[in-house]
């Protein structure tokens, strides 16, 4: 009984190591019709272990963003299977997908996507409040403290720098304790110092809280911060590199782009 409770409490924070967080099997997603038809994903196979951080790389237009969106259940697939902790997203209705967004997945984007009219604190608290949870001020401040913005809680996004906005977005993603965080070029709009701060925060999510991260990036340094790198070209996974280094990633990417 006690063991069971413990299990569940732990399960809501992170899956145990060895579990599979995300599995994509032969996923196809195309856009447009007729002549203009583009296969953004053309049979993608991908497995993400729980508690790991995977970077997705590839030339522009290779399908990175599409892959992320399909994996997170934001976009449907034309063929193939997307399993998030064993749950098939293809058959999920809006209610289940909403619950998924509340409990299981989180997002961070290149352009931050903060609600402009809300303060940093309100932005961080938003997902919890949407999920109908009571939000303590202390919890929110702790999250902002955690990303080094304890003194900026009352600021609105336009009063913050890009790096600070992105840290607010990460605090927002952290406070909901999602099992998987999807990040699309989270450092894309940042200078290298801010980028380094953001990457270390992401590392803390993986190592500290056991969360899983799928991150699209085109920056080899950012990719090297991850546990593994998956390379995409023309909508297919063409390579996978464990324990990447920036130099090896850059070389592999260069070979793909020619």
């Amino acid at each position: 009984m006690g063991q069971n409770l413990l299990d569940r409490a732990e399960g809501s924070q992170a899956a145990r190591a060895g579990d599979v967080a995300l599995e994509m099997r032969q996923v196809v997603r195309s856009y447009g019709t007729g002549e203009a038809r583009v296969r953004a994903l053309d049979g993608v196979d991908l497995t993400l272990d729980a508690g790991s951080w995977v970077a997705v790389m590839g030339p522009s237009g290779s399908g990175k963003s599409t892959l992320l969106q399909c994996a997170a259940g934001l976009d449907g697939v034309d063929a193939g299977q997307v399993l998030l902790f064993g749950e098939d997203l293809a058959g999920a209705d809006d209610r289940r997908l909403t619950r998924l967004r509340r409990d299981t997945v989180g997002f961070v984007f290149q352009n931050f996507n903060l609600v402009a009219s809300l303060t940093a604190e309100q932005n961080v608290a938003l997902p919890l409040r949407l999920a109908g949870r009571r939000v303590g001020g202390a919890e929110v401040r702790r999250a902002l403290d955690g990303v080094g913005l304890g003194d900026r809680g009352r600021h609105r996004p336009r009063e913050l720098s890009g790096g600070q906005q992105q840290r607010v977005a990460i605090a927002r993603a952290m406070v909901a304790k999602p099992k998987v965080l999807f990040a699309d070029e989270p450092t894309g709009a940042l200078d290298s110092t801010s980028a380094r701060v953001v990457l270390s925060l992401l590392r803390r999510m993986v190592d500290g809280a056991g969360q899983t991260i799928a991150m699209v990036t085109h920056d080899p340094i950012a990719a090297a911060a991850a546990d593994a790198v998956v390379f995409l070209a023309d909508g297919r996974v063409v390579d996978r590199m464990e324990r990447p280094s920036a130099r090896r990633v850059a070389e592999r990417l260069a070979s793909l782009e020619v």
Binding site: S65, Q69, L74, D75, D94, R95, T98, R101, R102, F107, F109, N111, F112, N113, L114, V115, A116, S117, L118, T119, Q122, L126, P127, R129, L130, A131, P157, R158, G162, R172, A176, D184
Partner: protein
């Protein structure tokens, strides 16, 4: 969730202010209409007036209540239309915000509830602001009625009737809720993915609901054009109004379909300028936005042109009808019957038919509005004394029953006005009582004339039934036929020289009748569309302000990519011109369809298809539409580009 609404309110002032203005003014206007309508329908006629003054005043009030009876539904429609489209537009503008909320875990129900709560608060606020404004509007509407002479100077309407205030408030708040309800339902289906697209994936503009509303209203308009053949003026105005309204709804709903065409047109016109291509792309891209701004303009243009065209046709057809019904060369207006009697002695005059207006009252048993039994009713304006045989020669209007040849001795003919005023006509053989100069006489009905477009006279009485002294003093009109071979001009000159009265040709005289009608029409137009038109215009400005305010980021990006502020403003102006064009063309199309219908029905009634293009109104409408949209676009675009572009472009969403 409430914090979210409040802070959105702070951040999107224009959006909420726009909706609030639309609701408050709509509520105020509906409230004013209801107050004025009830006041003129049940007027207090001051004591101490003569019978004639009281009658004249009462008649004015009847006219006022008929026109206000048309104005009230028009105002309600406009309020519903403007508030509904403003609120649903305001929701559509927040699509990206809503997508972000969905991305962060908001369910469909939550997004819907957020919007519905907001619109409830907004509707309540609008109703509260609208109530005191309604008092001001009531005052203005009364002054308009007073100005055109429908109500006596100093008329005091009811300023506060709880029933009217509550009904108006409920209308405003209810429509705000309904307008955003539909939009909220659609917003509930916003896909979270849309938050990620940089430009905010263009939502489908032609939704099934829009198609449905557009096609249904279009079919209804077609029915109105084809079937709308009204005999009486109020009927014609009602149909023209209904058509303007339904047609405007149809074309507003379908307007996104023509946006690309207009965009192409502007692209061609501004081909040589740097902004041409950009403006074309923007107009096309903002189909939803531009359609929303154009909607109140389409309605306004359709109403203004449609109504003034219909009223113009009405006046013109009265002239045409009177000219056609009259057989003669000259019409002489004389101050008294004695002068008119001298006409026959003027050399060159072959025939004279005088119609003398004699102060007398007629009491007849008639029915009104389908009341069961015929009751005695006194028509106390005047009677027209004629010589039956001469009248029959000068007027081609054939009686529906009886014969004008019998109009001599103790005889009376029922004129067109009796049925035009809504009474059942007495039948041939019935008797009526005529009181003239204190003497009462019982006369027999020998003929009943049909209704004409002009209201005309109530009763025609044979001259020999009235005292000679009364006839000698009565003013009148005489239709004169000139002898073959004599010159009409010379005869007219002789009549003038003899001091008998003013002469004009039959055509001029008929035109005079048309002009009198047009004067009355202008008053009706002012009452109907005065305040309502201003409201629709505010609706246009409102939609433009909402549309432009939401483009701050877009403008900022355009400036970062090299456009000067001046160029951005100019781009907004080009777009405003495109919107004005859409409004004018589609609104004009509705008015033209109405005109086609009227041409058909007048052809049936008068034998001539009558088409009136209100050129003056048209020119004013075109200039006004461009002036207002361009003015509003310049101001809002300047306001939207005041901030440094870098700050705005960075703070997306």
């Amino acid at each position: 969730m409430f914090t979210l609404s409040l802070s959105t309110l702070r951040d999107r002032r224009q959006l909420f202010a726009g909706a609030l203005v639309a609701i408050a003014l709509g509520v105020a206007l509906v409230q004013a209409s209801l107050h004025v309508l009830t006041s003129v329908s049940d007027p207090v006629i001051p004591a101490g007036l003569s019978a004639a003054e009281r009658d004249e005043m009462r008649e004015g009030f009847v006219g006022a209540s008929v026109v206000m009876g048309l104005q009230a539904p028009l105002v309600v429609f406009l309020a519903v239309f403007v508030v509904g489209s403003t609120c649903s537009f305001a929701v559509a503008q927040r699509r990206r915000d809503l997508a972000l909320l969905r991305l962060l875990g908001a369910g469909r129900g939550q997004t819907r509830r957020l919007l519905v709560t907001e619109s409830l608060v907004l509707g309540a606020a609008g109703a509260l602001c609208g109530a005191p404004l309604g008092v001001v509007m009531t005052w203005i509407q009364t002054r308009v009625l007073e100005q055109v002479g429908f109500v006596p100077a100093g008329f005091q309407p009811v300023y506060w009737n709880w029933g009217a205030v509550l009904a108006a408030g409920a209308t405003g708040a209810g429509i705000a809720l309904l307008g955003s309800w539909n939009a909220a339902r659609r917003a509930g289906r916003v896909r979270p993915l849309e938050a990620m697209a940089d430009t905010g994936a263009a939502a489908r503009v032609m939704t099934p609901g829009r198609w449905c509303a557009g096609v249904l209203s279009l079919a209804l308009s077609a029915l109105l054009v084809a079937g709308g053949q009204a005999a009486d003026p109020i009927g014609a105005i009602t149909i023209a109004m209904a058509l303007s309204v339904v047609g405007a709804v149809a074309l507003s709903a379908l307007s996104p379909l023509v946006v690309p065409l207009v965009a192409r047109l502007f692209g061609l016109v501004f081909r040589r300028s740097l902004l041409g291509g950009l403006a074309e792309a923007n107009i096309r891209d903002g189909a939803r936005r531009n359609a929303s701004v154009a909607a109140p303009l389409i309605t306004l243009v359709a109403l203004v042109l449609g109504l003034s065209g219909a009223l113009g046709v009405l006046a013109r057809s009265i002239g045409v009808e009177q000219e056609r019904l009259t057989r003669g060369d000259l019409v002489v207006t004389s101050a008294d019957g004695a002068s008119a009697a001298r006409l026959a002695g003027i050399p060159g005059v072959a025939d004279v038919s005088s119609q003398l207006a004699v102060p007398a009252s007629v009491t007849a048993k008639v029915r009104k509005d389908g009341a069961r039994a015929a009751r005695p009713h006194t028509f106390d304006e005047r009677v027209v004394a004629v010589d039956g045989a001469a009248y029959e020669r000068a007027r081609t209007l054939a009686p529906t029953s009886g014969s004008l040849a019998d109009l001599h001795g103790d005889a009376v003919a029922v004129g067109p006005a009796v049925s035009a005023e809504g009474f059942s006509t007495p039948r041939v053989g019935d008797t009526v009582t005529v009181t003239a100069d204190g003497v009462e006489r019982v006369l027999r009905v020998v003929a009943v004339l049909p209704e004409t477009l002009e209201i005309g006279d109530e009763f025609l009485i044979a001259k020999d039934a009235l005292p000679t002294a009364l006839l000698a003093a009565a003013p009148g009109e005489s239709i004169v036929t000139v002898a073959p071979g004599a010159s009409v001009d010379e005869v007219a000159e002789r009549i003038r020289a003899a001091g008998i009265g003013d002469t004009e040709s039959v055509a001029q005289w008929a035109q005079g009748k048309a002009d009198v009608q047009q004067d009355g029409n202008d008053k009706v137009f002012a009452v109907l569309l005065g305040l309502a038109g201003v409201y629709a215009l505010i609706g246009v400005i409102n939609a433009l302000v909402i549309a432009t305010a939401e483009r701050r980021t877009e403008f900022a990006v355009a400036r970062l990519s090299g456009l000067e502020r001046r160029q951005v403003v100019r781009m907004a102006v080009v777009e405003a011109c495109a919107v004005a064009t859409i409004g004018l063309v589609l609104g004009g199309l509705v008015a033209a369809a109405g005109m086609a219908g009227m041409a058909k029905s007048t052809a049936a009634a008068t034998g001539t298809a009558i088409v009136v293009v209100p050129w003056g109104t048209l020119a004013a409408t075109v200039l006004g539409a461009f002036a207002v949209t361009v003015g509003a676009a310049v101001l809002t675009a300047r306001a939207a580009t005041r901030e440094r572009p870098a700050a705005l472009a960075a703070a997306r969403t």
